[in-house]
Subunit: 151 residues, 2 copies
Amino acid sequence: MNIGQAAAASGVSAKMIRYYESIGLIPKTVRTESGYRVYSDHDVHTLRFIRRARDLGFSVEQIADLVSLWQDRERASKDVKAIALDHVGVLERKIRELQEMASTLKHLARNCHGDSRPHCPIIEELANDEAAPLPAKVDAKFGTLGKGSVR
Amino acid sequence: MNIGQAAAASGVSAKMIRYYESIGLIPKTVRTESGYRVYSDHDVHTLRFIRRARDLGFSVEQIADLVSLWQDRERASKDVKAIALDHVGVLERKIRELQEMASTLKHLARNCHGDSRPHCPIIEELANDEAAPLPAKVDAKFGTLGKGSVR
DNA sequence: CTTGACCTTCCCATGATTGGAAGGATTACA
DNA sequence: TGTAATCCTTCCAATCATGGGAAGGTCAAG
């Protein structure tokens, strides 16, 4: 099957399939005479594995590890579990960080009349030179608020 | 004061101060004869405002809006509140998304022995072709799991 | 006057993903 | 068979906020 069909069957875009190939996450595929990539059901299965791992927020680097453990029938389950739990830790730290932001903002918003007058605790807090610095940022993975989806 | 001192006083790195200037978030500063940027206490105050907004996860675009509302003494507090609440919504969606990932993973990890044997429900779930697709991803801001800190 | 600490601009990298251009291949239909 | 639509290919650029580093100018202390 062609890359478009593999994309549809796996839920990974054709663009990303080529990208994953280029960085070595998946091996180079067979090509037709005219250069089209050809995928098997097995390849699609691998792509689905990758997509599911992405859906769980694993980085491509971690996915590479997971794929190789997946393909190693002798793997120790503790190696997989370690990657998963490490990732859970990262996720939970990030969640806490976002929760702090949200609760601070909700608190400020609750005290803001939200009318046409200028008085606004939100702005005042941002402008407050005495404000306690927010807790030091974890070396949080999860970049900043870009446009991408987490997928 | 020089950019390095302004950076130390505001908590915004010199690199980022130059960047904010280049994108127009802050105005171009006065320069010394030799080209050094010169900052006043007022500039530092603005930089602190920006840093606090960043700490709350606002995008540079939103910060530009917040800064101009801050400087508008006639602003309506509802305009500020709208930005804040919009951001709270984004934060909360993201939190929910991460919580789903974490809880799925914790559930899987709980059922993984984590020993030297190969059996591992985590890998099996990732490889499971019947797996229900995860809920459609929100057009989540907050990119993927990159290296950056949130700051 | 030298040394070291600063400053300047410019380019590059990050991570995952999308967009698009230019051009070749395949397919469907009249 | 001709042609148009739809695929595919590679390559380059942009995203977002940030940091790294090079090459070179400036300044202050010794």
